[in-house]
């Protein structure tokens, strides 16, 4: 979806800024919004570019920096932590060869921490793009990663 088309979905009122940004980034392969896009978005909603930048940099699901095609977000808050989320983190780090905050060189995966996903009754949990995975074990994580890798090839 082009930015112009996406913007037309929203009334040109600044209250829809966050919704529009999130929608657009979700659809984009690198899940980020560039400087030129921010200029356009700011114009559409009649707000300053500073304001758009402050909003983008405030919310975890918005970004000015490009991310991998699949953004893996891992929860390590207490309910997940005491259900061995650290082993899930370790598996992800080893399998992907990256640390949280990094993206694989092929641009396929980014790894990030996230706040609680509200899946504590099925901890540990991770989220890959818009999909949540629960009741994880290291083996399940390996299988999930393979699926995503296959999807690419």
């Amino acid at each position: 979806m082009t930015l112009d088309l996406m913007l037309q979905k929203y009334p040109a009122s600044s209250e829809y800024l966050i919704e529009a940004l999130r929608d657009y980034q979700t659809a984009k392969i690198d899940h980020c919004v560039t400087e030129m896009e921010i200029v356009k978005i700011a114009k559409y909603f009649n707000v300053t570019e500073s304001k758009v930048c402050s909003v983008v940099s405030f919310y975890s699901f918005l970004s000015e920096k490009p991310k991998g095609k699949y953004v893996i977000r891992i929860c390590r808050d207490v309910p997940c932590f005491v259900n061995k989320s650290e082993s899930i983190l370790k598996t992800l780090e080893t399998r992907l060869g990256i640390k949280p905050g990094e993206t694989t060189t092929d641009g396929l995966f980014s790894l990030e921490f996230t706040g609680c996903l509200g899946q504590c009754d099925h901890a540990p949990a991770i989220r890959i793009n818009e999909k949540t995975y629960v009741d994880l074990t290291p083996d399940k994580v390996k299988a999930i990663l393979s699926e995503y890798r296959e999807e690419k090839s």
């Binding site: 300053t48 500073s50 000015e64």
Partner: protein, 574 residues
């Protein structure tokens, strides 16, 4: 209605809707504050002014809490003192606290706070992550390592100036006050008004200090160093040196600058008078020949930067006159050089301005009337001028008053009021009215255009036609004016625009701690200067008339056009 409460067990009665902070102050207790600034919005972010209210859990910030009947406030319990100390230590742990190597040393509100609280050690580890300094423009330096995220600069930039270059980026501990995209001020839409530097409690935003350049020039035997002093400085330099806000120090400041070693001390008021003649002539020409109207003033470099960046479509509406500072520079290196038989290349022009944008203006490439030679070499703010006088150890109060030097020393009351919002308009009307209507004004004071109202309007009879004029100060108000012009809805013929609140008396380079009250004091003093002047209309200034007859010819003529007028360039960022 009055409210009764107890502050530290003492009965206190204050009007309703008073904050605890003000109630305490009215009863001689200054609760320490940090992010609080009288003219700005209360965001109660620093939490330093916390107090105990009996019966309430937690502490309450006195800046944001209103008094209520029967309230019992304790301002200095051990719990409160510990909280203030703890928060201050937290701020210091994330602050470049190399105080003696900071421009704000002894002027820093965080430093003063730490001193008042008696902080002698910091329990917390230093966590400052050093970030690059932005000094890529002629006016301002932003040093994030000193920023304490009080939010004052954001407020002034967004809400007073309506520009919103600075915003809080990121969140939590990573928060960074910055222009968008992590860029420099010079890359983005900053007007260099410097209001942020004026309210910054620490050394995070300061003007670019050029005092060293001036010292070097003063002691360079090859240079003929002269200085011009803006209208607003005569009512603010005294304050910078410890006198009461609004103290008029015209004569002493001439003497002080002579002590520093300036060969000649001139008055920018002279070229303010000249501006009135040129700008007034331009206005009359535009009105009578069907030129582009409304015409706006052009003396304020913040306004020029704002228009070039945000309203490039209205640049035709801005008077082509250079600002008084630049007119002075141009004349200094031509007329004065010829008259005194000095090589223009050796003349070094220093300006003392209430303004940080003037530094930017002086460096504009079109501001050179002679070969490879900018007309104004260095611009110092009021604060920098004060700094030089302190460095010199000048005992300002003991100085005998002196007069400005000729040929740029004879001025009028009309020029003096250039320093306040409405002043340029009033000065212009005094002249334009008399020239067009060919009769003297009965009353010189145009009270409708005076005062602190954001946008002021007046009507004047010019040659039988009623002409509407307006005066705007702060960029948020300038924006309203600019929108009207852009949309062809402006009902005015002539508009004065000043970028800073109150005009130059509230400029971004004025003494720290400028608030509404200080602005009004300075404003009142400028009008007092006006009234006390033997001449109060620019066109009656004999030395201006001499300048035209000896050198320039007539207003808007070829030489005037070359030296005193300029062009504006749209600034397109993308």
């Amino acid at each position: 209605m009055m409210v009764n409460l107890k502050i530290n067990n003492i009965d206190v009665t204050v009007p309703e809707n008073t904050t605890i902070l003000d109630a305490a102050k009215a009863n001689n207790i200054a609760i320490p504050t940090l992010c609080y600034y009288p003219d700005l919005r209360i965001n109660s972010d620093c939490r330093i002014c916390s107090v105990e209210i009996v019966g309430k859990k937690g502490l309450s910030t006195s800046c944001s809490t209103l008094v209520t009947e029967g309230m019992q406030v304790k301002t200095h319990t051990p719990r409160v003192i510990n909280a203030r100390k703890t928060i201050t230590e937290l701020l210091l742990a994330n602050h470049d606290a190399d105080c003696t190597a900071c421009a704000k040393n002894m002027n820093c509100e965080l430093q003063k706070l730490a001193n008042v609280l008696g902080i002698d050690e910091n329990r917390f580890a230093r966590v400052l992550e050093v970030r690059p300094i932005d000094d890529h423009n002629p006016s301002l330096i932003r040093n994030s390592n000193r920023c304490i995220k009080c939010g004052r600069c954001i407020d002034v930039c967004r809400n007073i100036q309506g520009v919103n270059v600075l915003e809080a980026m990121n969140r939590g501990h990573d928060i960074l006050i910055s222009p968008p995209f992590g860029k420099y001020l010079s890359d983005e839409f900053c007007t260099f008004c410097g209001q942020c530097s004026s309210v910054c409690p620490v050394g995070a935003i300061i003007e670019k200090d050029e005092t060293a350049t001036v010292w070097n020039a003063l002691h360079d035997p090859q240079k003929h160093v002269i200085v011009q002093v803006a209208p607003a400085i005569r009512v603010s330099l005294g304050e910078e040196l410890g006198q009461k806000p609004g103290t008029i120090v015209t004569g002493k400041l001439v003497a002080a600058l002579k002590l520093l070693g300036f060969t000649k001390v001139f008055d920018t008021d002279f070229t303010a008078d000249l501006t009135i003649i040129e700008e007034g002539s331009e206005l009359i020409k535009r009105i009578t020949t069907g030129g582009v109207l409304p015409m706006t003033t052009s003396c304020c470099p913040g306004w020029i930067n704002f228009a070039e960046t945000y309203y490039p479509e209205i640049l035709d509406h801005i008077s082509s006159c250079k600002s008084p500072q630049q007119m002075f520079g141009a004349l200094a290196k031509t007329y004065y050089a010829q008259k005194e038989n000095i090589d223009p290349a050796s003349i070094f022009v220093v300006s003392i301005m209430p303004c940080t944008a003037k530094k930017y203006e002086a460096k504009r490439s079109e501001m050179g009337s002679t070969e490879n030679n900018l007309d104004v070499d260095v611009v110092l703010t009021t604060r920098e001028a004060g700094k030089m006088l302190r460095q010199m150890g000048v005992e300002f109060e003991n100085l005998s008053e002196m007069e400005f030097d000729k040929p740029f020393g004879t001025t009028t009351g009309a020029a003096a009021i250039f320093g306040t919002t409405g002043g340029v308009m009033e000065a212009a009307l005094r002249t334009v009215y008399e020239i067009v209507n060919k009769k003297p004004l009965a009353v010189l004071d145009f009270v409708e255009v005076r005062g602190m109202k954001g946008i002021k309007e007046a009507s004047v009879d010019l040659g039988g036609k009623t002409v509407k004029v307006a005066v705007a100060h702060t960029l948020a108000n300038a924006k309203i004016i600019a929108e009207q012009i852009k949309n062809h809805e402006s009902p005015y013929a002539f508009i004065e625009v000043m970028c800073c609140p109150g005009g130059c008396i509230g400029g971004g380079g004025q003494p720290y701690g400028t608030i509404s009250k200080t602005r009004t004091d300075r404003l009142a003093s400028l009008y007092a200067v006006d009234v006390a002047m033997p001449l109060r209309k620019s066109h009656e200034n004999p030395d201006i008339n001499k300048l035209y007859s000896d050198f320039l010819g007539s207003p808007l003529a070829k030489l005037s056009h070359e030296l005193l007028h300029t062009k504006y360039q749209p600034k397109r960022r993308h």
